[in-house]
């Protein structure tokens, strides 16, 4: 079921020539679709005339399940939304809940959240860069990138015991304080990571074959990026300078000095390169956050186990590795949310695929899909 021909038909072109139109099914199990994406591709020879993504192969009903869980029980479910970067959904949900219930978060917890989320950004971008490189034939890059990701996962494991589904950011704080020696390891990681990033930059983006595969492929204009609601590196690759950490500052982000890297051409090359540069910025934020962090409580004491916020609603969003991730919560006074809605950046970015893929070769389709970096846990929810 990887790639198979669904139908073939002959169409008469404008110039009178007869061409065979192929309809090819890619996925839902395909090594280059980053999960369970299915794309129905209409081909004229090898050129994509139309690409229709079919989603829903990982629809687990998390938003509906949240209505049957207490507010605290929803946190582990949010881990499974964006499984490449679990910390973000944790944090977005907790922020919405904290706004809804009026919970104050200690300053140390905010710093810890920033630290883990910036590390998560590096881990997620490493996965994205690596798999996108592997899709375009550069498997070596994947191994270099995954090495860096594995180091962060080891740090997370030391911090909260889990390698992937952390359940770390909790309403009112975080679940654990940093263990002894963790901060030094994290700082040492920042130093080695910068060198590794430079190496990867030369290895992949300096490679003439990689440049040929990425440059000018899947060009997204800045106007289209805004019109289609793209966010994160996809929008920034097109030159849209939009980052919630800068433009709707939350948590302790205003205290840090960092830049928002943007591209100019909006092609796959720029989107991937923006991710690489964001890792440098994340290292900068990490070092500043670790330097500024003061000892203190890491969670609010005396928070009831059964939260029952007053009827109302709250929306909050954070900048995840994929873009602006928002959670909307409606409370009806009971200990369970009346409704939870996740604004998923991966879903909005994936919607660009038909537009970007049109007119490119079939082999460019996987490169474009990789540059959009969808995670299907979050797309389908």
């Amino acid at each position: 079921m990887s790639v198979e021909i669904e139908s073939r038909e002959c169409v008469v072109r404008g110039d009178g020539g007869v061409v065979e139109q192929l309809v090819v099914n890619v996925g839902p199990s395909h090594p280059s679709t980053h999960g369970v994406c299915r794309v129905i591709v209409h081909l004229d020879g090898e050129v994509v005339t139309k690409a229709e993504p079919v989603i829903g192969y990982l629809h687990r009903g998390i938003e509906k399940m949240a209505e049957n869980r207490t507010y605290l029980q929803v946190v582990p479910l949010t881990d499974r939304l964006d499984y490449v970067g679990s910390m973000y959904a944790n944090w977005a949900y907790c922020r919405a809940l904290e706004r809804l219930a009026g919970i104050r978060v200690p300053e140390r917890a905010e710093y810890l959240r920033v630290i883990v989320c910036e590390m998560q950004r590096i881990a997620s971008h490493m996965m994205s860069l690596g798999s996108a490189a592997a899709d375009s034939g550069a498997a070596t890059m994947f191994i270099y990138a995954f090495d860096q990701r594995e180091r962060i996962i080891e740090l997370f494991e030391e911090l909260c015991g889990a390698r992937l589904t952390y359940n770390y950011v909790r309403p009112g704080g975080v679940s654990f304080d940093v263990p002894e020696g963790w901060v030094e390891t994290a700082l040492a990681f920042c130093r080695t990571h910068r060198a590794a990033l430079t190496e990867m930059d030369r290895l992949y983006f300096g490679n003439v074959i990689a440049r040929d595969r990425l440059k000018g492929v899947g060009v997204l204009s800045a106007a289209d990026a805004v019109a289609w609601g793209a966010s994160g590196p996809v929008a920034r690759g097109s030159g849209v300078n939009f980052d919630l950490r800068k433009h709707d500052p939350y948590s302790v982000y205003p205290r840090f000095d960092f830049d928002v890297p943007t591209g100019s051409n909006g092609d796959c090359y720029d989107r991937a390169r923006v991710r690489l540069f964001e890792c440098y910025e994340s290292c900068r934020i990490l070092e500043q956050a670790i330097a500024q962090m003061e000892p203190g409580p890491f969670r609010t004491e005396g928070l009831p186990r059964l939260l029952a916020p007053r009827p109302g609603d709250a929306y909050d969003h954070i900048e995840s590795a994929r873009g602006s991730l928002g959670v909307y919560l409606v409370a009806d006074g009971t200990p369970r949310p009346y409704r939870m809605k996740v604004r998923s950046p991966a879903f909005c970015n994936l919607a660009l695929l038909p537009m970007l893929a049109e007119g490119h070769m079939l082999s460019d389709l996987v490169v474009i899909l990789g540059s959009l970096d969808p995670v299907f846990g979050e797309v389908d929810r």
Partner: protein, 194 residues
């Protein structure tokens, strides 16, 4: 071809053939167990650990297990992640495309029973064993890469009980793990003197 198909049965029925059969079985099982190419049926979070298992730190290749995303090249399907009702027909179809002999590893709680998605959801299949014969169950949400590697080693033990004679091929009986991180399906007659 037909002779090859009947070879096992013929050997088994003839006098003294059992000795040859067990020797052939031993060779076949040794070669099958030592190069298990895996079909990575990664749908959700567990797929990340499946990728991690085959990369730098854990290096799956040293066990002879190599991820190959083509069902026709592979021996074992590693179902890693939640299987929804929409995905299940595709998984089944991919399993049917795999050439015999083939095995299935259910990696993670979602593939075992639905895991965290067992209750309150309308779209998740409660365990891949509802439609596939699972040989090894690996518990965890997600399991560590080491657990997956242990699961493959357990699968080798199951493969070691196989035979080229259809009379001696035993039906896999599906059991859920009672304790420990890894369990594997017992087959009837396993450990019995034959």
């Amino acid at each position: 071809m037909a002779l090859v198909d009947r070879l096992g049965q013929t050997l088994d029925s003839g006098s003294g053939g059992g000795i040859i059969l067990t020797s052939v079985d031993a060779l076949a099982n040794w070669s099958r167990g030592k190069s298990l190419w895996a079909m990575p049926m990664g749908t959700a979070c567990c797929a990340m650990e499946l990728i991690a298992a085959s990369f730098n730190k854990f290096d799956f290749d040293r066990h002879g297990t190599f991820p190959r995303p083509d069902p026709r090249h592979t021996d074992v399907m590693v179902v890693a992640g939640t299987i929804t009702r929409k995905m299940a027909p595709a998984v089944k179809r991919l399993y049917e495309q795999m050439a015999d002999p083939k095995w299935v590893i259910a990696m993670g709680n979602c593939a075992i029973s639905g895991g965290i998605f067992y209750y309150d959801t309308y779209s998740v299949v409660r365990g891949v064993d509802e439609f596939l014969p699972v040989d090894v169950y690996i518990a965890g949400c997600p399991p560590r890469p080491e657990s997956l590697q242990d699961g493959v080693l357990r699968l080798r033990e199951i493969i070691a009980t196989g035979s080229i004679s259809p009379d001696r091929v035993r039906e896999a009986v599906l059991t859920l793990p009672s304790s420990g991180a890894v369990s594997f399906g017992k087959r009837p007659g396993e450990g019995e003197a034959r």
